[in-house]
Amino acid sequence: MASRRVVYLTFIILFFLISSHFLGWIKYPEIFLNRISLNVSGSVRNYSQGVGNFFQRWTSTRGVYDENNKLRNQIADLLFNRSELEQLKAENDSLRAQLNFAKSKNKFTLANVTGKVNELSSNIIIIDKGSNYNIRNGKPVVANDGILIGKIIKVENNSSLVRLLSDSQNKIGGTVLNNDKTIGVVSGEYNLGLKLTMIPLTETVNPGDLLITSGLETDIPRGLLIGQIENVQKELYQPFQRADIKPAIDFSKISIVSVITE
């Protein structure tokens, strides 16, 4: 009986919370809670990345471990330090690349990746900058020297969700850098790879051709690199060709991104 009362009470509280959210009554507690959960999630992400790097190094040099029992402790210490240094080096490289990108005409905001959402067949990353930094829905998100990785789909005050290109719900216009300047639609496939569809049968697309954004969408400028054509499927009974794309960056290893705000 008591449990039934708690269940009904929980549904009433949920209804109150949802209504209050849309009415804006709990805006400040939401900002506070969002910031806490973002920080906790970011800390877990950093820690797990460090541990992951450590184990990667550890497994790759396990043979050395077996041969050098006397140096085991010393090697473990060195490996841990090396994994930390490699993480710093990767971060440094990424920041340098972002800096080169910053010299271009676009205005951008740098952000850290603090989490990832894999639920409901989506492929989304969480970044630690939001509407406070002039980030809006639909803005493109890039990594390194202007490699497009996705679009902003939801903005909170101090966090945003980025739908990656590999998400099947993401569709953007792409141009192949070939003689025909072929235009097609880039979308994700099973959250794993990318494909270019709607390629006219009359145009020639070859493996190895680079693919950039077409600029046909309002918020996404032309010329951002997407990837490289891997193979082309041309069937005479199909109205269009399609091509598999090799992304220019590994989406699972992105830790710093730039959001193009203007």
Binding site: F11, L14, V40, G42, Q49, N118, K154
Partner: protein, 177 residues
């Protein structure tokens, strides 16, 4: 009461952090594990105390909304509803704490969650134009992956718990001799 609420409060943050900061970054198929659903389902299966699990579901569902691409409140409402239906299912059909019961509850919970989610999302799309369009084949593949991943984790949890507590049973019905 205070300590129970504190545990739920901290547990919600921990679940969110583990799900979005750790599990989602794991390699496939481990990235398909949904630690929030598994913890809720397994803690209800072990304790049978619906009120604590419901409070934790409410809190973690509310925190989850910040990181969810769907309309605010959809995910947490569906989570609570499917947990409620699963509890009723456990109460009336799979009443004993056995491995088949746990697996049946997992299947029922996930099926219920996704059917309710797609149904309400479809209404939100058609009526208010705020839903998300899912490709059926990809959503179905994801659903199967999630069922397999959560079943494996629950199996592991079941045998670990059984090894230490001996509270749970491996068989559903005892054979009469």
């Amino acid at each position: 009461m205070f300590w129970r609420l504190l545990w739920i409060f901290l547990g919600g943050f921990l679940l969110i952090a583990l799900q979005y900061g750790f599990v989602s970054f794991l390699v496939f198929p481990f990235s398909s594990i949904n630690i929030i659903y598994i913890v809720l389902l397994f803690s209800y299966f072990l304790s049978g105390k619906l009120e604590d699990v419901f409070m934790l579901a409410l809190w973690s569902g509310f925190l989850k909304e910040f990181f969810n691409p769907t309309i605010f409140g959809l995910s947490s409402s569906v989570l609570l509803l499917s947990l409620y239906f699963t509890a009723r299912f456990f109460e009336y059909f799979f009443t004993n704490r056995t491995l088949p019961s746990l697996l049946a509850l997992n299947l029922f919970f996930l099926t219920c969650f996704h059917i309710l989610f797609l149904f309400i999302n479809a209404i939100a799309s058609v009526k208010f134009n705020v839903g998300i369009n899912f490709a059926f084949n990809e959503y179905f593949v994801f659903f199967i992956e999630e069922i397999i991943a959560s079943t494996l984790v629950l199996l592991f949890l079941f045998f670990i718990t059984n090894h230490f507590t001996r509270k749970l049973k491996n068989v559903f019905l005892f054979k009469s001799t």
